[in-house]
């Protein structure tokens, strides 16, 4: 049944763990839609025929001018319809939450869109262009951003899509059911070569994936969509693998982050990065915020919008100073420090510290 409907409706393969669930709702919704439209049209057509002028003139008893239909019928139909829409909404929203909230243990990969290509960076240091390698049977979380205009990352086989917005990080997660190859299409119009901004996801068996990460495996021979040429892995594998955490340390040092932030929990001018990621911090103007990719990026680009309570408003903006890849690397560094325990007292406010007046790279 599933296969039959999927073929009739021209839906692609169900390659992610959530695809089949979504398709089931799809069948329900489309069948009701088609049925509803046909039913209304048939009833309308029947009335047109039954109450046509010539017939009514022959049989005047058919004519009932000014009769209003029973109000209960209308109420029942409307409530029934509303109930059905509500069911769609409840199922759809629950599935949407499943789509949106990645599991804790998801593998993280950074995706950068630019006119007109996709670039993927792996925490272990590997990176690739146009082809995203993922392990099958393991949740993968993509952290996406764009270097120029808005793009949208779409994998039809996974039933997933998320806009890739410059100046923001968005996320998307999936779990490929088994090894295979799947199209990536850009679905937000992004200029003259929009329709060629395609790529593919190659899901590998976990051990194959590990080998690929170390730059060893040759191109896997996996059947894919007929219209995509297989792209050899070695073409894109970097000569030297630099772990993203190491890259982050380098970037943090180069940009002077470590003049105010510490990595080992020592209290200093800015909040320490040790154990910071994933926690919820209080804000100066009341409220609190979870330290995630979005908040970290915001704090780099526009630090004074939401500032950790107890810290002075001294951080400069890094907007335009720091490259997206460096942003990702610094975030990855902070993630690597999430389990480092801050030294006692580190979370105490730093009201007493005097700020040197001539700080290099200051406000």
């Amino acid at each position: 049944m599933n296969e039959l409907l999927r073929t009739i409706l021209f839906l692609p393969r169900q390659a992610s763990t959530i695809a089949e669930e979504i398709d089931k709702l799809h069948y329900f919704v489309i069948i009701m839609t088609m049925g509803g439209a046909l039913l209304v049209t048939l009833i309308g057509g029947y009335f047109l025929f039954r109450y046509r002028r010539t017939a009514v003139q022959k049989d005047p008893s058919r004519r009932m001018p000014g009769t209003t239909p029973a109000i209960w019928l209308e109420v029942v139909v409307v409530i029934g319809l509303f109930g059905m829409f509500l069911v769609w909404w409840v199922i759809g929203f629950r599935q949407f939450m499943d789509i949106r909230v990645p599991p804790e243990n998801a593998l993280e990969i950074y995706v950068t869109g630019k006119q007109w290509m996709w670039k993927f960076a792996y925490p272990e240091g590997a990176n690739s262009i146009a082809t995203l390698y993922v392990p099958a049977g393991r949740p993968v979380k993509l952290i996406l951003t764009s270097r120029d205009v808005i793009h949208s990352f779409f994998v039809p086989d996974f039933r997933l899509k998320e806009d890739v917005v410059p100046g923001r990080l968005t996320t998307l997660w999936f779990e490929a059911k088994e090894p295979g190859r799947h199209d990536i299409l850009c679905t937000e119009y992004c200029g003259v070569s929009h329709s060629t901004m395609r790529g593919e996801v190659i899901a590998l068996a976990p051990d194959e994936y590990e080998r690929w990460l170390q730059g060893k495996s040759p191109a896997p021979a996996i059947a894919g969509p007929v219209d995509l040429r297989p792209s050899p892995v070695t073409e894109y594998a970097p000569a030297e693998l630099v772990n993203m955490v190491r890259q982050g340390e380098r970037a943090a040092a180069e940009h002077g982050c470590l003049r105010c932030h510490t990595l080992d929990g020592t209290p200093h001018l800015g909040p320490t990065w040790a154990g910071l990621y994933g926690t919820t911090v209080p804000l100066e103007n009341g409220g609190s915020v979870k330290v995630d990719e979005a908040y970290i990026t915001e704090s780099m680009m526009d630090p004074l919008v939401r500032i950790h309570v107890g810290y002075q408003r001294i951080m400069p903006s890094y907007l335009g100073q720091i490259r997206p890849a460096e942003t990702s690397a610094i975030i990855e560094l902070m993630k690597s420090l999430r389990d480092v325990r801050p030294k006692p007292g580190a979370s105490a406010p730093w009201g007493t510290v005097t700020v040197p007046e001539t700080r290099e790279g200051g406000q």
Partner: protein
């Protein structure tokens, strides 16, 4: 033609109007009498010519697009031209055809007559509205020649602010177009409030007036937001204001909020007038009062109100929070409920009627199928998890063309046939009308039904080249588009021929009780000799002919 000949040609009018005065088409002659007219009927005819021209232009763009998509790789135009074409198709169809079409042509023509008024409240503003529309068209056409635009009609930043094309001028053109819309809508609102004939209470008004009134309210509240967003966009494009540019701390998603805050209600600006047309057509041809007058009248207002709170469903994958997505999804479903109430009421109106079958009625049947299918796929795309797959694919393209073409264009054609005798006093050829209507429907279904499947298959919209597995559905769609184009040309040709050679219609060829038919067809310059007195509602088909005429006295 001398005065005497005209009078001899005009059949004696049973309602006593028109016989002693020439109709509005012949009341004055000469180009000046048209270009400087303050007669709402002549302004409507001028708008008619305008919107048909732009329907043709937008249609040509559409056929170029569809023909290009016959093959997966380049067929006959390059990627840049293709991107220009879909942008210009969208801009032309939305702002130069779809939004003005029914209100400025049929609204302008019949709304004052339906209210028993001699003209709209502000005839000069009405004429100005036409010239502002022409100005906006000139600016837009100029911009098309001087660089065009390749941003899509949605102008998403930051692409649109960096595009080398004439985005600034497009923005200005659409801004000016909005002024024209606002002028017409203010005119409609004031006319409906202040110029109703004696005895014509709100609940006696024809339903088309309710629909036009609700549309005018949306135009009045939503269009300024569009104007503002486009001015900001134009400033960004021309002078680097950078309000939406992340490089300088701007937010591109903010533009999407502003744009859709207008453009979602704009969908109802485009579809509500067609609801009005359909209500008129159904009641007139089934010679029956609407199954529930209030349900149809108030649901228009309901849609107008709820329509302002659903814009977020365009942004489920644009970084909207999950909570917002849930709320916007649920609110969107209310619009469908209001629309469903209308559909049920129309179908129930047929029951117990005495239905004369003519071309407008056939268009109503098509409307029923296309609008219900298009509307329910609208609820489907408001279902969050499904929208993640469908968003920005051909499914969405098919969905909104079902509403816009299947709904609005079908209703426009129904109105063009239904009010043809009213506007020109002649009858079109009914058999040709029915045949062309069938051609339009079949062409439409072949154009857009395959696009639902393309969207399911994952083909994104605005793709110049596409994976080869989508080809056969694209070929079907292109064939359908050609048939649709041919059907439209023949349908319009039928009407144009009837302008000169059609049979004389008489004042009320359909036997309608709606008030625009109580005067002569075509009406004289001032519609009525004196303000009519109305003592019944627009749909009292239970009354006998004489009583009905007596209770809506017109001279």
């Amino acid at each position: 033609m001398s005065q005497a000949t005209i009078d001899a040609e005009t059949r004696p009018d049973p309602l006593g109007v028109g016989a002693d005065h020439p109709d509005y088409l012949r009341a004055d002659s000469g180009l000046r009498s048209w270009l400087l007219t303050k007669d709402h009927k002549r302004i409507a005819i001028m708008f008619y010519v305008g919107v048909i021209l732009f329907l043709g232009l937008g249609g040509i763009f559409a056929l170029v697009l569809r023909t290009e998509l016959l093959t997966p790789e380049q067929t006959f135009i390059d990627a840049n031209t293709y991107n220009q074409m879909f942008t210009l198709h969208g801009i032309t169809m939305v702002w130069l055809f779809m939004i003005p079409a029914i209100p400025t042509v049929f609204g302008n023509f019949v709304l004052p007559i339906m209210l028993g008024a001699k003209d709209l409240a502000f005839p000069r503003i009405n004429l100005a509205s036409f010239y502002v529309y022409v100005l906006s068209a000139i600016i837009l056409l100029g911009a098309m020649v001087a660089g065009g635009a390749d941003t899509g009609w949605t102008f998403y930043v930051p692409y649109s602010t960096t595009s080398p094309t004439a985005v600034t001028w497009m923005g200005i053109g659409i801004f000016v177009n909005g002024i024209s819309s606002i002028m017409t809508s203010v005119n409609f609102i004031v006319t409906t409030h202040t110029m109703r004939a004696k005895g014509l209470s709100w609940h006696r008004m024809p339903l088309f007036v309710w629909a036009s009134y609700a549309t005018s309210i949306i135009i009045l509240f939503a269009t300024p937001v569009l104007g503002m967003s486009l001015v900001l966009l134009a400033l960004d494009h021309a002078f680097g204001l950078s309000l939406f540019n992340p490089r300088y701390g701007g937010d591109p998603v903010l533009f999407q909020h502003l744009f859709w805050f207008y453009s979602h209600p704009a969908v109802y600006i485009m579809i509500l007038p067609s609801f009005g047309v359909i209500s008129e057509v159904v009641c007139s041809f089934s010679h029956n009062q609407p199954a529930s007058y209030r349900a149809i009248a108030y649901s228009s207002l309901g849609i107008a109100f709820i329509g302002f709170f659903t814009w977020g469903h365009h942004m489920f994958v644009a970084g909207l929070s999950e909570f917002d997505a849930g709320v916007f999804g649920a609110l969107s479903m209310f619009v469908a409920i209001f629309s469903a109430i209308k559909v049920f009421t129309w179908v129930a109106t047929l029951r117990g009627g005495s239905i004369s079958f003519a071309t407008p009625m056939l268009y109503f049947l098509w409307f029923l199928f296309l609008f219900v299918f298009g509307g329910m796929t609208g609820v489907a795309v408001a279902t969050q998890s499904l929208d993640v797959h469908w968003h920005d694919t051909y499914f969405v393209v098919a969905h909104f063309h079902f509403i816009m073409v299947g709904g609005t264009l079908t209703a426009f054609l129904a109105a063009a046939h239904y009010w043809f005798p009213k506007m020109f006093g002649r009858l079109y050829d009914e058999r040709v009308g029915l045949l062309t209507s069938v051609a339009v429907f079949i062409g439409f279904v072949f154009t857009f039904l395959p696009q639902f499947l393309l969207g399911n298959g994952g083909m994104p919209r605005r793709y110049f080249t596409y994976p080869a597995r989508y080809q056969w559905l694209n070929v079907l769609s292109t064939g359908g588009a050609w048939l649709l184009g041919a059907g439209l040309i023949l349908a319009l040709g039928n009407l144009v021929i009837a302008l000169k050679w059609g049979k004389r219609a008489g004042p009320n060829p359909w036997g309608s009780r709606s008030f625009e038919w109580i005067t002569a067809s075509p009406p004289s310059k001032h519609n009525f000799e004196e303000t009519p007195e109305i003592e019944r509602s627009a749909y009292e088909y239970t009354l006998s002919e004489e009583v009905a005429r007596e209770r809506a006295k017109a001279r």
